[in-house]
Structures are given as C-alpha cells and as structure tokens.
C-alpha cells in the first residue's frame, strides 16, 4: 500500500476533466448521457427532498404526489423541535463526543503510528499485529464487556465514558503508520543532529508532514462519531445524556407527528451536509485510500 501516491490516484474522481481527456461515450451525444445520471440523482436525492418537504407541512395529511410540491409551507415543526431544549443538549453531547474523539484519536494515532513506523523496539511487530488482528473481532461481541467495563469505571451516562472506549481506533493507527513510514528518515536525522528531542521531532517534523492524512482521517473519525448509534444507545441511559442520533430515534418512537420528527432529522443532517460540502475531497481521498490497501 502506498499512501503517498494516493492523492494522485484520487484526484481523477474529484476533477473529472483531469486525466482522461477521451470520454468513453464520445460517439454519443453528451446530452443523452445526462439522462440516466439525472434519473439516478433524483432517486438518490428523493429521500432528502421528502424529509425537507414533509417537515415544512405540519398538521397536514400527506397525499401524493401533491404534498411533494407544497403551496403553503410552515416552520412550526422547527419551532417545536427547537423549543424543546433537549435537542440543544443532545447537540452539545454529540459535538463533544465527535470533536474530542477527532482530536484525541489524531494525537494518539499519530504518536503510535510514528513509533511503529520509525522506531525499533522489542515487541514492535507483536504489539502492532495484535492491534490489527482486533479488526477481526466483531464489534458486537465486545459491546457487552465494554459496557460492563465502562459501567465498573463509573462511566455510564457520562461524556468521558462515552468517548474514551471509542478512541482505540485500529484503522487510524494503521493508516498513520503507513503514512509516516513514507516520510524520509533523513528529515528526522537532520532534526536530531540539530539537537531536537524526540517530542520536538514528533511535534515539528512528523505532525506537519501528516497534514494530508490528518485531514482525511479527521473527517472520517468525526463522521463515525457524529453518526454513531449503537454505543451511545447502550451507554447513555437518560434522555439528557443522549446524543443526536439516539435522541432522534427516541423522538421517532414517541412523536406521533411525522413533520416534527422530520424537522429533527433535518436539523441533525445540516451539520453533516455542511461538513460534507466543505471537506468532500478528503472523504473521496479517504475512500479511495481504503481501496488501495
């Protein structure tokens, strides 16, 4: 796996006009090729459209296809959701869970990745591969023991108890190690000759070099946690400690008005959408990188 070459390999999907000047369907008229794509895009985007449209028509029966093109819209269901202070608490919990995880996973993974990539020490291979082997263990088998361990530590229903167990991220450490391995040794040697200590080398040489992978990994880790459901469902026992996904699910179970639930869904979806629009290229790179393993 050569992560350092990934940016070149991945650039074509983001810049469609890049490396392939000859279109495969060049004999056909290009306008015709848009048809299946538009159809597929409409089908893919329909659930999102429906979610928004329904949330804007509270108190009205939904009849198709008329309801999909509403003449009158109302923001009442948004007021209702936002008037419920719990959603702000859930958003706060989700934000802490996601942001703390991103920062800590990136720091710990880059430290461990650096040691595994550039240091020789007793037990290196054994430790590294026993970490990687844990990828084979289904998460659901470890769910109950993890619950018991966190519960014994008094971490149930707390934000630290929610966050800390998820920091042992194998993929992050693995990718970091692969990436740091490609940083030239000369760079590290030069810093050492200049008198830099090991922490200094890590902080001023290694970390800046890992920026591309930091961005990619960071967006992924954020999303995993923002959308995570099963662990918060198990670990957070009272409504004020829910994260957004668990809260939305509880809304769906209790709420009889579909429009209100949909408004909640839209509110949770907006941050994801914004992050996706801003950081799309990092997602794409991350996906393709995982495919090169």
């Amino acid at each position: 796996m050569t992560v350092s070459t990934a940016p070149q390999t991945t650039s074509p999907p983001t810049t469609p006009t890049g490396s392939k000047p000859l279109a495969r369907g060049r004999r056909r008229r290009p306008g015709l090729m848009h048809l299946p794509l538009i159809l597929a895009a409409v089908i893919t985007a329909f659930p999102f459209y429906a979610m928004i449209v329904i949330s804007l028509q509270p108190g009205q029966p939904i009849d198709l296809p008329g309801s999909l093109f509403p003449a009158v819209i109302s923001y009442d269901s948004y007021q209702e959701v936002l008037g419920n202070s719990r959603i702000f608490q859930w958003a706060f919990n989700s934000a802490v869970y996601s942001i703390a995880s991103v920062v800590l996973v990136l720091v710990f993974a880059s430290m461990a990745g650096y040691a595994f990539a550039k240091k020789t020490f007793f037990g290196r291979e054994v430790i590294f591969w026993s970490f990687v082997a844990m990828l084979m263990v289904p998460y659901h088998l470890t769910l109950i023991p993890q619950f018991i361990i966190v519960s014994e530590m008094g971490g149930l229903n707390t934000l630290w108890g929610l966050t800390v167990p998820t920091l042992a991220n194998v993929q992050a450490m693995f990718l970091m190690r692969q990436f740091i391995r490609d940083i030239p040794d000369e760079l590290i040697e030069a810093a050492r000759i200049d008198g830099a200590g090991e922490f200094r080398i890590y902080w001023s040489i290694i970390l800046p070099q890992t920026k591309p992978i930091m961005a990619t990994l960071g967006t992924f880790v954020f999303l995993w946690h923002w959308n995570d459901f099963l662990w918060p469902l198990v670990a957070q026992r009272t409504p004020d400690m829910y994260v957004l996904t668990v809260g939305l699910n509880s809304m769906q179970q209790q709420e009889t008005v579909l429009a209100t639930t949909m408004a909640g869904a839209v509110i949770i979806f907006v941050p994801t959408l914004l992050i996706f629009i801003c950081l799309q290229r990092f997602f794409v790179r991350g996906v393709v990188m995982s495919g090169l393993k």
Binding site: M51, I144, A168, L248, A265
Partner: protein, 306 residues
C-alpha cells in the same frame, strides 16, 4: 528492553542521554503507551472477556456462575437463534448482490467526462455520510402504507404493499436501504479501479471489433477484480453487522423476520439483560467472521498464484 533494541539495530553504544532525548526504545514505549492502554482496556480485554462471558450466566443484577457450555446447548436448541442465523444469511444473500450491482452500474455511469459530473458524484455520495437513523426514519415513510413506493406501485395497479409488515418483503426492503446508503462508497472504489485501466486496452478491443458489452465483460471486469473483491469484503462485513436500520425501522419484526444475529445480541443483552447468553451469540458471530476471512484469504492467495 533498551539493550535488545540496540542489539537489533546493531548501533554502537551511544553516549548516555536523558531518556526523553534518546532515540531508542524507551521513547517508543512512551509514544505507544496511550494506544496500548486504550487497546488493552477497550479492545483486547473486552474480546477475551466476551468469550469468557459466554460460559457464564452473568446478569447485571445478581452474581455470575461458570456454567460451561450450557449457553451453547441452549443456543443450539433455540429456534430464535436458528431463525436469526437464517435471517442473517438471507439478508446477506439479498443485500450483497443488490448493493454491488447498483454500485457497479453507477460506477459505469460515472466513468466518463461530462459537464457537472462532480455534482452528480457528490449527490451519490451524500447517503454515505447520512446517519443511519435519519435514513431509517425517511425510509420508513417511503415504505409506508401511503408512502411514495406504494404510490408508484399503485400506478401500475399493484398494492398497497406492507413492505415492512411483510415477512417476505422486509429483508429486500432493508437491503434497498443499505444499497442506497452504501453505493456511493463502493462506487468511488470501483471508479478508482476503472481509472487505473489503461485506455489502450479499450482501444485495442475496439479495433478488434468488440462491442460495448464485450469490452465490459472482457476488459473492465477482469481488470477490476481487485476493486470488486475489496467491495465484496466490505459488503460482507456490513451485511453481517447491520443493526442501526433494523433497530430504527423494524425492531427485528414482523415476527422476528428481520431479527439478525447482531440484533439478537442487543436484544438478549440489553432487552433481557442476559449477558452470558448474548455473549454466546457473539462467539458464534466471531466464529462465522473468522471462517469468512479464512475463505477470503484462501481465495486471495489462489488469485495471487495465478
């Protein structure tokens, strides 16, 4: 430990430096320490503990006794377990081909230079970043009695169908949701694989008179095998671990017809608080996972030798 590392590296004994300035072993342990602690506590210990639990009758309240293989004998005579195993396999058989077909088809559609392709690809990727709870809630409405899907089938005079209320339709319906959620991810991997295929191959095939389908069958597919294999592995893992959408959309029903092994672990563990029994299901899942990855390895090695 430091000595072992030094011998390995074969370096001459260095001038004595304070440990945090040393480039040798001690510092490496400091760097991996946070991960080692996290791993031991939250991955390795739970994995061993999980297997151990399956031999006990652990419940959150009350003690735990070692009961040998009792959980497993109970499991193998439990129709719920066999039902869950069947549902998991049937779901995999429906969801994996559906998802891969859609992904491959969409990758072929997107593998060309067109104005606005970036926007199309962004739209196709959007479901990937969407929370499964949001997806579940919207799709419950789409599959609903008065939902758009039944409106569509109504146009051709079929239905309304109770997609999520039917024991036959519930797994295909859930597979559709998973295809919608995953195809953008798989599509990107396949696209990267397609872009790596040299254009000359297509031109040569075209000169030899191969039509579009023949070029697809004899150039694209064979050269795309590694990417397809990777997507297949991803899909197998995802289909075995599906939980969120089932929890949100069906709760395992109707009549446990979407009650998978992972759902059973959750249900026995946090519905009935029978931690020992739930862990026994987890061990079965572990065995299945290991078996599948052994088969994968074997197939992969066979492919390499060719």
């Amino acid at each position: 430990m430091a000595i072992a590392a030094r011998n390995r590296a074969g370096a001459p004994a260095p001038v004595r430096r304070r440990w945090w300035r040393s480039d040798k072993a001690v510092i490496a342990y400091v760097f991996i320490l946070p991960y080692v602690i996290l791993f031991l506590t939250f991955k390795i210990a739970p994995a061993i503990f999980g297997v151990g639990l399956s031999f006990t009758n652990w419940r959150p309240v009350g003690g735990a006794d070692f009961i040998g293989f009792d959980n497993f004998t109970r499991l193998f005579s439990d129709p719920i377990f066999w039902g869950a195993l069947r549902v998991t396999l049937v779901y995999a058989i429906i969801a994996i081909p559906m998802s891969i077909t859609v992904s491959l088809f969409m990758a072929l559609l997107c593998d060309r230079t067109l104005r606005g392709m970036g926007i199309y690809r962004s739209i196709f990727f959007l479901p990937v970043v969407t929370s499964s709870v949001i997806a579940g809630i919207i799709w419950v409405w789409i599959f609903g009695q008065q939902g758009p899907l039944n409106w569509l089938t109504g146009l051709v005079g079929v239905g309304p169908l109770g997609w999520l209320q039917s024991e036959i339709l519930v797994l295909p319906a859930l597979s559709m949701v998973s295809a919608w959620s995953n195809f953008g991810y798989n599509m990107l991997i396949l696209l990267a694989g397609m872009l790596a295929i040299p254009r000359d191959y297509y031109e040569a095939a075209e000169l030899d008179g191969a039509n579009w389908f023949k070029r697809f069958r004899h150039v694209t597919i064979p050269l795309l095998k590694p990417a397809l294999f990777f997507v297949l592995i991803l899909e197998i893992i995802k289909s075995f671990q599906v939980f969120d959408t089932i929890y949100v959309m069906t709760g395992g029903g109707p009549f446990r017809s979407s009650y998978t092994l992972t759902y059973m672990i959750y249900d026995q563990g946090f519905g009935y608080f029978d931690f020992g029994y739930a862990s026994a299901v987890g061990v079965v899942l572990l065995v299945i996972t290991l078996a599948v990855s052994l088969v994968q390895r074997w197939l992969f090695d066979k492919e390499k030798k060719k």
